[in-house]
C-alpha cells in the first residue's frame, strides 16, 4: 500500500511538471505579451502612448526580455521553492490572489456538488425504479438534457426569473447564503446530469445481474433490491467520475462566477488569461492540476472500501491497472484546463 501511494505521488509530481511546462510554452507561443496588453488598456481600457524606453524598462522589470530557457529555468526554480511570483497586472503576490479567491469557489463548489449528488442520485434511482413507462422515459431523458444545456444560458435564465422578475435572490455578489443559491443550482445542473447518466446506466446493468434475481427470489423487497444490492455495485463507476466532476466544477466556475458577478478562481482565471498574466496563470494551473491529482488518488484509495472484492482478491493488482487509466484522465484534464 505504501509503495502504491509513493508511486502515485511520483506520478503526481510528473503531472504537475508537465502542466507547468505546457502552460509556459502555450503562454509564450501566444501573440503579444502581458506588458503590451496592459498598455493597450485591456478590456474597456485606453491606449497608452507610453515612451518606448519606459515600456522596455517595464518588460525588463518582469524579466520578459530574458532568453526563453532562462525565463523557464527561473520560473521553475522559483516554483520549486513554493514561490509563485507576483501578478504582472497589479504586482500582487500570486499566492495572495489565489488565496483570496479559493474560499468563495470552494463554497460554490461544495454547495453545487452536494446539490448535484442529491439531484443526480435521486434522478438515477427514480429513473430505474419508476414503473410507469412514460415517466421512466421522461426521467431517463433528463440527464442528456442537463448535460447539453449551456451553463451560461441556465444562469442567465435563473437570474432573469428569480432575481429580475421575482426578486427572491440577489443577482450579484458573494454576500450571504442567498447569493449562493442560484450559482450553485446553475453549476449543479451539468454535474448532476453526468452523475445521473452514469449511475442510471450502472443501476440498470446491476439490476439485470443474477444476484439481484437471487435476492428477489429470496423475497427481498423492491426498495431493498434497489438500495441495498444494486446501488452499492452501481456506485463504483460513479465514484470513478470524481475527477471529472471536480474538473466540471472548476470549468463551470469560470462561467458561473462571471454570470453571477462572484469572486473566485474562475473570474481570476479569466482575467489572468485575458491579460496573459503568466505567473498568475501558472499558479492557477498548478492549483488545478494538484486538485485533479489529489482527487483521483482519493478516488482510487476509496475503491477498495466500497468494493470488498478489490480488498479480497488481487488487491494490489486491481488498483495498478486502474491507476494507468486514472493517470490518462488526469493528463487529459490538465491539458484541457491549461488551454481553456
Amino acid at each position: 500500500m505504501t509503495g502504491y501511494v509513493l508511486r502515485r505521488l511520483g506520478q503526481a509530481v510528473l503531472v504537475l511538471w508537465a502542466a507547468f511546462t505546457v502552460t509556459f510554452v502555450i503562454l509564450y507561443l501566444l501573440p503579444s505579451d502581458p506588458v503590451s496588453i496592459m498598455l493597450a488598456g485591456g478590456q474597456g481600457g485606453e491606449q497608452s502612448t507610453a515612451d518606448p524606453a519606459q515600456v522596455a524598462a517595464l518588460r525588463a522589470e518582469h524579466g520578459l526580455d530574458d532568453p526563453l530557457p532562462e525565463q523557464y529555468a527561473h520560473a521553475l526554480w522559483r516554483t520549486l521553492h513554493l514561490d509563485l511570483g507576483t501578478s504582472i497586472q497589479n504586482g500582487a503576490p500570486v499566492t495572495t490572489l489565489i488565496g483570496d479567491a479559493v474560499p468563495q469557489t470552494l463554497a460554490l463548489a461544495a454547495a453545487a456538488s452536494a446539490l448535484a449528488l442529491l439531484l443526480g442520485v435521486g434522478t438515477a434511482l427514480a429513473a430505474t425504479a419508476v414503473r410507469r413507462a412514460w415517466l421512466r422515459t421522461t426521467l431517463q431523458a433528463l440527464p442528456p438534457l442537463g448535460v447539453s444545456l449551456p451553463t451560461f444560458w441556465v444562469g442567465l435564465l435563473l437570474i432573469q426569473v428569480f432575481s429580475f422578475r421575482v426578486p427572491v435572490f440577489p443577482a450579484l455578489g458573494n454576500e450571504g447564503l442567498a447569493s449562493l443559491v442560484l450559482p450553485a443550482v446553475t453549476l449543479a445542473v451539468p454535474v448532476s446530469a453526468s452523475i445521473a447518466q452514469v449511475l442510471a446506466r450502472s443501476l440498470r446493468t446491476a439490476l439485470a445481474e443474477p444476484y439481484v434475481e437471487t435476492a428477489r427470489a429470496k423475497g427481498a423487497s423492491r426498495s431493498r433490491l434497489h438500495l441495498r444490492h444494486a446501488l452499492r455495485n452501481a456506485a463504483i463507476p460513479t465514484l470513478t467520475l470524481g475527477g471529472v466532476i471536480v474538473g466540471n466544477l472548476l470549468a463551470g466556475a469560470v462561467v458561473v462566477e462571471t454570470v453571477f458577478s462572484r469572486v473566485g478562481l474562475g473570474r481570476l482565471t479569466v482575467s489572468a488569461v485575458n491579460g496573459q498574466d503568466i505567473p498568475l496563470v501558472q499558479g492557477l494551473v498548478l492549483l488545478a492540476a494538484t486538485v485533479f491529482v489529489v482527487t483521483n488518488l482519493v478516488v482510487d484509495l476509496l475503491h477498495p472500501l466500497v468494493d470488498p472484492r478489490l480488498r479480497l482478491v488481487g488487491g494490489a493488482r486491481a488498483p495498478r491497472r486502474r491507476t494507468r487509466n486514472a493517470g490518462d484522465v488526469e493528463a487529459e484534464r490538465v491539458l484541457v484546463g491549461g488551454a481553456a
Binding site: S32, S36, M38, L39, E46, N90, A92, A171, T258, S261
Partner: protein, 531 residues
C-alpha cells in the same frame, strides 16, 4: 421624452420583454434643479471590468479611472466646455514657450491622512509618476519631457519641461495626475493598487477594495474644496459609493431595471431605450479625444496611395453610422471628437461621396472585377480590420458601405492581446481604435512622426502643425493650428474617423445630479439619492 407612439410602444415592448414591473414614481431626470439634495445613503454603481488596481495614477481602464476620480483632486478642473478652471491651484502662469508652469496652491487643503496639499506634495506626485514609468500608463505620457518641480514656497510649485508641452495644463485636470499624499506617492505601486495606502484629498476615501467584487468609497468628512463648477463646495452628499463589478452586460441591464443597482455607464446601446423614462433617466456625452478611427498603414500598398485612402473615407456614410447606435446622434465631424476643446468642423470633408470615391479609385488604376471588388495588377482591393471593441454592428455597416465603391473590408474580431500584438508588430493595413483625452494634443501623440506615427508615414506638413500647437499657449492661436492639422489629417485621409464613442449614464430616477466631468467620466461629489 414620450413624443411618438412608436417610441412608447418600443419602451413598452422592452419592458415586457424583461418582465420587470417597476413603480412609476416621479420621473425627475438626473439634472432636476428644483429638488433639494438629501444627505446620506449609498449609491450602487455597476462597472464591467476590474483591472486589479484602483490607483488613479496607474490605471488606464475607464472603470478604474471613474473610481479614482472620486478619490483625488487635481490642480485644475476642466469644465464641460473644455476650459481649464481653478481647483487645488487657485491660479497659474504658463511661460510663453509652454515649458514652465507655475501653480499657486489653495491654502488649507489636506489629504485624508491630515498632511497638507502643498508644493512638496505636487513635486512628490509628479516625480513619482515619472518614476512609475510605463506603469503610469496615461500619466507618464502627459509628463514626457518633464525635468522637475521647484518649490519656492509651500504654496507655489513650478513645473518645468525640456520641450514645449502645452497639453500639460489640461493634463493637470485629469485623475491620472491627481494628487496623492506624499507617503502614498512614494509607496510600493502594488500596495497602492489595492487601495490600502491610497490617500488623496478627494471627496471620498477608500473604504474597502475586493478584486472582482466591489470597491466601497466613504465620504471624506471635512471636505470643503470642490472644484469650480461643482454645485456645492462642502462634503459629498452620499455616505458611500459601492462600485460593483458586473462583467455580464445583460446582468447589468437587469440589475438596474430591478433596482439592485442605482446607476451604471455599462448599458449596451441596444438596451438603452428601456431606461428612457419609466423610472429611469439616461444622459450621453461623447468622449473627448480621437473618435473611433481607421488608421491606414501608409508604408505599404494599397494605402500608400492617398487616392485609395481618400476613396475609403469618402465611401463611408457617417450619418448612417451615427444613427445606427442611437437615432438622432450626430455624425463625427473631424479628426477630433466633438467634445474635445478646440475641435474643428471638417464635416464637409467627411460627407459621403460615392461618385468621388469611384472616380479616385478609377484614376488610381483599380478596376472592378467580376464580383464588383476592384483589382489592380492581380491584387484585390481588400484589407482586414482586427478589433476587440463591442462595435461589430458599426463595422459591418462600414463593410457594406465601402463595398459599394468596390472595396472589400474583412472584419476579424479578436482579443486585446491580438490587437496589442498587431500594433507592436507594425504588420497591419488598418488599425481601429479610439483614445479618450480632453486635449487636442492627442492628435500629436497618435499621428505625429515624432511620436507613435500610427500611419507609418514619412514626415509632412501636418507634423509641423502638430509640433507648433504643442508649444502654443494662446488658446485661439492653438485652436487655429489644431483646426489646420485636423483638416490636413482628414483631407489626406491619415485619419478616417467613423463614429464617436459616447459614455452613457443610465440611472434610476432616485439618483440626482450624477454628472459628467470634462473627460466624460463621472463626478459623484454632487450626486444624491432620494430616500
Amino acid at each position: 421624452m414620450r413624443s411618438s407612439t412608436s417610441r412608447s410602444a418600443a419602451v413598452l415592448v422592452a419592458a415586457l420583454a424583461t418582465l420587470t414591473a417597476c413603480g412609476g414614481g416621479a420621473s425627475n431626470a438626473g439634472g432636476a434643479a428644483d429638488a433639494t439634495p438629501v444627505r446620506g445613503g449609498n449609491l450602487d454603481v455597476a462597472i464591467s471590468v476590474d483591472s486589479g488596481c484602483i490607483d488613479p495614477q496607474q490605471v488606464g481602464n475607464n472603470d478604474a479611472l471613474n473610481i479614482g476620480r472620486q478619490l483625488v483632486d487635481s490642480l485644475t478642473v476642466q469644465d464641460l466646455d473644455g476650459r481649464i478652471q481653478p481647483w487645488l491651484a487657485q491660479r497659474w502662469e504658463v511661460s510663453p514657450d509652454a515649458t514652465t508652469f507655475t501653480f499657486h496652491l489653495r491654502p488649507g487643503v489636506t489629504f485624508s491622512d491630515g498632511t497638507p496639499v502643498d508644493a512638496a506634495a505636487v513635486k512628490a506626485n509628479l516625480d513619482g509618476i515619472v518614476a512609475l514609468g510605463a506603469k503610469a500608463s496615461l500619466g507618464s505620457t502627459y509628463l514626457q519631457g518633464y525635468t522637475g518641480t521647484q518649490t519656492p514656497d509651500a504654496q507655489t510649485a513650478v513645473v518645468t519641461f525640456s520641450r514645449p508641452s502645452a497639453q500639460f495644463l489640461q493634463a493637470t485636470s485629469t485623475m491620472s495626475l491627481g494628487l496623492l499624499s506624499v507617503p502614498t506617492a512614494t509607496a510600493d505601486p502594488a500596495t497602492r493598487c489595492t487601495g490600502a495606502t491610497l490617500v488623496g484629498s478627494g471627496p471620498f476615501v477608500v473604504g474597502s477594495y475586493v478584486k472582482d467584487d466591489q470597491t466601497v468609497l466613504e465620504r471624506r468628512t471635512g471636505y470643503d474644496w470642490a472644484p469650480t463648477g461643482a454645485k456645492h463646495a462642502g462634503e459629498a452628499y452620499l455616505d458611500t459609493i459601492t462600485y460593483r463589478v458586473v462583467p455580464e452586460a445583460g446582468v447589468r441591464t437587469g440589475s438596474l431595471r430591478s433596482h439592485q443597482i442605482d446607476a451604471t455607464t455599462g448599458i449596451a446601446s441596444q438596451d438603452l431605450p428601456q431606461f428612457d423614462g419609466n423610472g429611469f433617466w439616461t444622459q450621453r456625452r461623447a468622449n473627448p479625444g480621437i473618435p473611433y478611427n481607421f488608421f491606414p498603414n501608409e508604408s505599404r500598398a494599397p494605402f500608400d496611395d492617398v487616392r485609395v485612402r481618400q476613396a475609403l473615407s469618402k465611401a463611408i456614410d457617417r450619418e448612417q453610422l451615427a444613427s445606427l447606435l442611437n437615432p438622432g446622434d450626430e455624425a463625427v465631424t473631424s479628426a477630433l471628437s466633438v467634445s474635445t476643446p478646440g475641435a474643428p468642423d471638417d464635416a464637409a470633408d467627411l460627407a459621403r461621396d460615392l461618385a468621388g470615391a469611384n472616380r479616385l479609385l478609377d484614376a488610381a488604376g483599380w478596376t472592378r472585377g467580376a464580383d464588383g471588388i476592384r483589382e489592380k495588377a492581380g491584387r484585390r482591393l481588400t484589407f482586414t480590420v482586427l478589433f476587440w471593441q463591442p462595435t461589430s454592428a458599426v463595422l459591418e455597416l462600414v463593410q457594406q458601405q465601402v463595398r459599394e465603391a468596390g472595396i472589400d473590408l474583412q472584419l476579424k474580431q479578436g482579443t486585446t492581446a491580438d490587437t496589442a500584438a498587431q500594433q507592436s508588430s507594425g504588420d497591419y493595413d488598418v488599425l481601429f481604435y479610439n483614445l479618450t483625452r480632453s486635449d487636442p494634443d492627442v492628435l500629436r501623440t497618435i499621428f505625429s512622426t515624432d511620436t507613435r506615427n500610427v500611419n507609418q508615414r514619412p514626415r509632412g506638413a501636418v507634423d509641423d502643425l502638430l509640433a507648433e500647437q504643442s508649444s502654443t499657449t494662446d488658446a485661439t492661436q492653438r485652436a487655429q493650428l489644431v483646426a489646420r492639422a485636423s483638416q490636413l489629417l482628414v483631407q489626406e485621409a491619415h485619419s478616417i474617423p467613423l463614429i464617436e464613442l459616447s459614455t452613457v449614464i443610465a440611472a434610476s430616477d432616485d439618483v440626482h445630479d450624477l454628472q459628467f466631468e470634462g473627460s466624460s467620466r463621472l463626478w459623484i461629489h454632487d450626486a444624491w439619492k432620494q430616500s
